[in-house]
């Protein structure tokens, strides 16, 4: 496979990541939100494997496999279990209405492009263009955490940020060392378990997962 074609495929993957971030922001239902989140994990795994292929880095294949299993399958499934068990309202409740959120999101993309422009000039990797996209994805994940009422959607936002940081690592430096990768993956797994426990605690104490109720 030629380098140019690989670059185009990785660029396509970056574009898909950004598209998925926008899709995550615009979803109205919990289930479709989780579908898109799972898709993000799968695309991330595919991009990681491709970058591993381009850079002859076998460690990235391991990262890709972990990503696929953990972020593409396990975490969405766990979150869906929690939603089912806790009888959470199946609709996402945004604080700001959708069109405004999307406009803010568009502004964030422009902002992150502007900010990462100098970094791109320093790098010589074929994946350097993806840094701006990864940065935008991180900001979009944060936006999602800020603008949602429910604890679960905020957790999805958090996990999306983690995905984007991973993507930034792969794009900027061809991935972190495998030890760090494994550590992060394990942390995320533990975090999701802790989040699950938190959900139960929040619901038991406040009888709702709506975080506004905690202020009263």
């Amino acid at each position: 496979m030629s380098t140019e074609l690989l670059q185009q495929i990785i660029t396509m993957g970056a574009a898909l990541m950004l598209l998925i971030s926008f899709a995550l922001l615009s979803q109205k239902r919990m289930l479709s939100l989780l579908h898109w989140f799972a898709l993000q994990g799968i695309v991330l795994a595919a991009v990681t494997a491709l970058v591993g292929y381009t850079s002859d880095n076998t460690e990235l294949y391991v990262s890709a496999a972990i990503t696929l299993l953990l972020k593409g399958m396990l975490l969405p499934w766990v979150l869906w279990k929690i939603i089912r068990q806790m009888h959470v309202h199946r609709e996402v409740e945004p604080l700001v209405n959708m069109p405004v959120t999307m406009l803010i999101a568009a502004a964030l993309v422009v902002f992150s492009y502007q900010v990462t422009l100098p970094i791109e000039h320093l790098s010589h990797l074929i994946t350097r263009n993806t840094i701006a996209v990864a940065m935008a994805n991180v900001l979009l994940g944060m936006l999602m955490m800020i603008t949602r009422k429910k604890a679960i959607t905020q957790v999805v936002g958090f996990l999306a940020i983690e995905n984007s940081l991973f993507f930034a690592g792969v794009g900027a430096t061809y991935g972190m060392p495998l030890v760090a990768e494994l550590g992060v993956a394990f942390d995320v797994l533990i975090a999701s378990v802790v989040f699950g426990l938190f959900f139960y605690q929040i619901r038991d104490t406040f009888e709702s997962l709506d975080l506004n109720k905690m202020e009263k």
Partner: protein, 316 residues
């Protein structure tokens, strides 16, 4: 001189073949639903019947109502004359760019809405208000998706854009993929096809486009229906020009022109098959979901624009 003749021929081709295209879509749809369906030449018979029929005009109809069909038909044909069908660099394509093209289409939409309101019926006003709500959202999405291509080619002229795409060859560009999806979504809305509007129904709660035409009869109705048929072919051709121009003739030579014609018909058929499958498989969406559908199209086109600047310009 010959290129001018070819240009005129391709405009006539688009205008005269449009009713047949509509007939083919109807026939395909009927077959897909296990019906026999009318022949593909039925729209010509309908049009000639309507042209021959007496017109019934409401007492309250003003000059706008009487002038609107001619304006709609002329603006659609003008828009069709700008779009290259089988030959690039046609003289007419240099007279107007894509922004003017969107303008021609907007004039048609505007006068359809005016005519709907002019007569003062409830349905006309309702249809006009719906059409305008969607048009206001569809126009930016249409222009934004075309602009993605314009920025790549650094021109808003269709012939220059086609040349640029032909020179660049087949590239896996996310910006163009996003623009294509946005463009397809907009063309569904602009042409009033399922899942946004149903061209085959006269059920008052659901119709958008048809609601404005309820008072028309005779040759007025014929002109508007013909314009609607041309618009469908026009949008399809525009999508081919912008995204799949391969095969279009760059020089006036008989063999190249024939190949271009054949490929155009082939692409058109493929487009119709997809359209028919979509129309058969999908249910009409709720009216209030259409603005969201259109804003999705707009954001896809906007993302395409971002992708162009972030991922593609930097790579060169």
């Amino acid at each position: 001189m010959t290129i001018l003749l070819v240009n005129i021929a391709q405009i006539l081709l688009m205008v005269l073949a449009a009713p047949m295209a509509a007939g083919i879509v109807k026939k395909m749809k009927a077959r897909m639903q296990n019906r026999q369906g009318a022949g593909i030449f039925q729209p010509y018979r309908d049009l000639s019947k309507l042209f021959g029929k007496e017109m019934v005009l409401a007492d309250h109809a003003s000059w706008i109502f009487r002038a609107a069909p001619y304006i709609i038909f002329t603006s659609t044909v003008l828009a069709a004359s700008v779009v290259p069908v089988i030959v690039v660099d046609s003289p007419f394509s240099w007279t107007a760019d894509v922004i003017a093209l969107a303008g021609f289409l907007a004039i048609g939409t505007f006068f359809t809405a005016l005519a709907g309101m002019d007569i003062g019926t409830v349905f006309g006003g309702m249809g006009a208000s719906r059409e305008m709500t969607f048009a206001a959202l569809a126009e930016p999405a249409l222009l934004m998706s075309i602009f993605v291509l314009s920025v790549t080619a650094q021109s808003t002229n269709l012939s220059v854009m086609i040349h640029h795409i032909l020179d660049a060859g087949i590239l896996l560009k996310p910006s163009i993929a996003f623009a294509l999806i946005a463009m397809l979504m907009v063309s569904i809305v602009e042409n009033g096809r399922i899942p946004v509007d149903n061209p085959g129904t006269h059920l008052e709660v659901t119709m958008i486009h048809e609601a404005m035409l309820l008072e028309y009869s005779g040759r007025h109705l014929a002109l508007i229906e013909w314009a609607t048929q041309i618009k469908l072919v026009l949008f399809a051709t525009l999508i081919f020009d912008l995204f799949f121009p391969w095969g279009i003739s760059t020089a006036v030579a008989t063999s190249a022109l024939l190949i271009a014609l054949g490929l155009w018909v082939f692409k058109l058929m493929l487009f119709f098959v997809l359209l028919v499958i979509m129309e058969t498989a999908l249910a009409k969406m709720r009216l209030f979901e259409v603005p969201q559908f259109l804003s999705t199209a707009f954001f896809l086109a906007l993302l395409g624009m971002f992708m162009h600047y972030i991922l593609e310009v930097g790579a060169q």
